[in-house]
Symmetry: none
Subunit: 498 residues, 2 copies
């Protein structure tokens, strides 16, 4: 048994090396690589993913896993959970023919490049054939994984174990019932909030200094984390000792990179605080997209867009941008950061309309995957739904269906985790408030007790516990979207003086 475990660990360590290399190639390609460097990356990714596929599906691995799972009592919890996870992965991977798997990696690379160009030139047709391949692969993959389940449920499960259309349909119905009337009220009779001062010229070198200060406030360990720049902000973790945030600076928007950094720092904080005992294992990262988004959105919105957080950063902002923020009060800054306005771009959306952007994607993904919507009809369907849910006219595909990178990366079923994450986060903060005065803590500028509370209940477990278990562990109750819709109602009723 000892030998089996040692061989199993060695095999996983090898597998980890390939994943590590591929993640770094990806990260390099979207941060510092010159544009024309992409072709050769495709070849390298193809070779490495083929090797990774072989390692992840090898019969030796299967034998080791089966031995371990047959002797559960003789192995430690970490090894057992690794064996369970790898077993599930292996069973799924085996169902995809190797040539299709490898081809998909190559297709993703091409789709990503085509999407970049299509978005830059507002040319959906350029992206269409690639997107068709991505949809087709996802439908096929879902069928391989679970031929008897609705395909979209299978895809949802990839990003948030256990999440189904049944849960989401109910969740989005609740959100819609609360958010749409509130939004209508705000548009019809809410106060007018001034945000003009946010769009002045904010030099990027000063914004970089602001980022450094935010990293400190968010307690990011500089020995284990860093900041980079890219087109679309994201967080990437190689181990808990190497977690990187990528942001994008717009010199004419004060809060764009600001909230990207706070959002991504939420993801990073999760990764940085995973238990040390999991560092060398395959369980040493965040458990799911939903739980991950609960953290990023909790930091970005509930904490980051609060009056209390604004009072912490206000002096820094005034010091860095004395001219631009002349005569701007704390209160004005807080209101500007929470201005509600139906708009085109998800990543720039306010907290209240944000879930409606997700609903659009959720409904369209469901239709694409079920086959009731064809890719060629997607731009039209997108524009109609944006009009229906948000009341906005979409002037171009660049600002419409081409805005997000997810589909070009072959990811369907991912978007809902953003909305469900917001709801997890609201429920977690409600639970935290039972233990101490959270917003008073934020106001003090000392976020460590909040991080500690979440580390104790969520972060340290990595992938040891399942998402549902973690949420219930933190909230001491089942998941309930009411906390989220109540939070939104209360916050925006007050801000808009309805």
């Amino acid at each position: 048994m000892k030998d089996t475990i040692a061989a199993f660990k060695k095999h996983l360590s090898k597998l980890g090396a390939y994943e590590h290399a591929m993640s770094k190639l990806y990260n390099d390609s979207v941060t510092v690589m010159p544009p024309k460097g992409s072709e050769v990356v495709g070849n390298a990714m193809g070779v490495l993913s083929e090797e990774e596929y072989k390692l992840a599906t090898s019969s030796e691995l299967r034998d080791m896993i089966e031995t371990i799972l047959a002797h559960k009592d003789e192995v430690d919890l970490i090894t057992l959970r690794e064996a369970e996870e790898k077993h599930e992965e292996l069973c799924k991977l085996e169902k995809i023919p190797m040539d299709e798997y490898v081809q998909h990696q190559i297709d993703v690379n091409a789709a990503s490049a085509a999407w970049h160009e299509a978005k830059a030139t507002n040319d959906f047709e350029l992206f269409r054939p690639h997107l068709e391949k991505m949809v087709a692969f996802n439908r096929k993959m879902a069928h391989y994984y679970a031929p008897d389940k609705p395909a979209y449920d299978t895809l949802l499960n990839e990003y948030e174990k256990g999440l189904t259309m049944e849960t989401l349909d109910k969740f989005f119905a609740d959100v819609r019932k609360k958010v749409v009337p509130l939004l209508n009220d705000i548009v019809a009779r809410g106060r007018r909030i001034d945000t003009d001062f946010l769009d002045k010229e904010y030099p990027v070198d000063k914004q970089r200094i602001l980022t450094d200060r935010l990293m400190k406030i968010m307690c990011m360990d500089p020995q284990r984390s860093c900041i980079g720049e890219t087109e679309h902000p994201y967080t990437i973790n190689f181990t808990k000792n190497d977690v990187r945030i990528m942001t994008h600076y717009h010199s004419d928007m004060l809060l764009s990179s600001f909230y990207s950094v706070v959002h991504e720092a939420g993801h990073a904080t999760y990764e940085l605080n995973i238990g040390d005992e999991l560092t060398d294992s395959f369980l040493g990262s965040g458990v799911s997209m939903g739980v991950h988004e609960s953290q990023s959105r909790l930091y970005e919105n509930i904490i980051g867009r609060s009056e209390e957080f604004m009072s912490v950063v206000y002096d820094d902002l005034k010091e860095l941008f004395p001219e631009q923020l002349k005569d701007v009060t704390r209160e004005q800054l807080f209101l500007a950061a929470n201005k509600v306005e139906p708009s085109l771009i998800r990543t720039e959306a306010d907290e209240l309309t944000y879930p409606l952007h997700i609903m659009v994607r959720y409904e369209l993904e469901k239709q694409l995957i079920s086959g009731t919507l064809e890719v060629k009809d997607l731009p039209k369907a997108w524009n109609e739904m944006m009009k229906e849910y948000l009341g906005v006219d979409v002037p171009s595909d660049t600002e419409g269906v081409l805005q997000d990178s997810h589909w070009s990366g072959g990811m369907f079923g991912y978007f809902p985790s953003y909305a469900i994450g917001s709801a997890y986060g609201a429920q977690m903060i409600a639970a935290m408030k039972q233990d101490f005065d959270v917003m008073e803590q934020v106001k003090s500028g000392e976020l460590q007790p909040i991080i500690d509370w979440l580390t104790e209940r969520i972060y340290r477990f990595g992938c040891i516990k399942k998402p549902k278990e973690l949420v219930e562990n933190a909230c001491k109750a089942e998941f309930d979207p009411k906390y989220y819709t109540d939070y939104l109602s209360e916050k925006f009723t007050k801000i808009y003086q309805l």
Copy 2:
């Protein structure tokens, strides 16, 4: 035969993918990775390099190569040259017993760590046993490769094919005969050159703008190249479509990053202009260290430190640093960039004393490899030779024998390529001057004709031709160090008004 070639290409493409991934992991680790991220990189590198070794020495590869070499008439030139190169590599690798090869990789790692500590603490004794292992391995390796050849000639051949002690002894004798008296004259009766203004405060963000302008002057294609930051400047190329320059900014030195960028841009220009037909082959990069250094040193010194180049960048410098360069004339800037001063550190040496630093290393390496000098006696020998050649007293091993990393990386025979490169470069420029007025071209700020001339004769060939062939191709004559020593004499006699 067609099948063999296809299989051979596929095998090389796989090998290339591993090399690509390892290069990128390395590059990431010394540029953007947070400090504590290193542990997991070691594991990934170990896994990938083991796989790469297996691919590079596999019997399948040997069979394919032998088939190709047995049917030379049936294959294209690129495939043939790839087969020849891989055959040579494979034959060499096979001669080293696997356990010794693996042990050496481990020893290099340890030697590198020990060197860092020894340098930081000025403690040669700490490094001594590691250096002894490096010397012993190099002697043994040279014997395995070519038991009947002088060991140091075998090592030289690793970095510059065809280079021998016979050539170098003659070369360095010439250099010494010309440079040492000239240096003595300069020290004794040359004019005094003011460089104080170079050490004012030059903000890094402004230096970054300067770098962007230099990249434009050097005709670096922004679609295929980029700039990064690291501790020790270098150039890294993944293909001719992804060539990156890394520099290091010192806010109290105007010309440090400036000349690093011009130097590295010389390396990069070589890589960026290799023939398109070689991009997907193993021949698509610069042929040797010597030829590479000929380009970097030609751009840095002959072009970059000329009056003509200074007049091109002068207005940019004055615009970026109006306060710091107030009252500094073009002439003063040119003189400051060419100040001669015997000093301790190779990488900071001026153009005239630089080859003397290389001579010290060359003489000592020869003795270490032949066995006439023991490692324990190396610091004393170093200090004596620095006194003899450069007239300087070495106050510590940190500023002496421990300053460079090459020996800790197990590299002996590498240093001479720096000096021989300078000499190649001088002879190439002399040949170019037969075709057009090179310095007038530099003065116009339009370097493309210079790049075109070199591309036609050197760059485009990648590894198709051998170094000697390339140099003779460009110079229409055999290599002759006279061009280099004449260039140095003429330039510095004039500058120092001797």
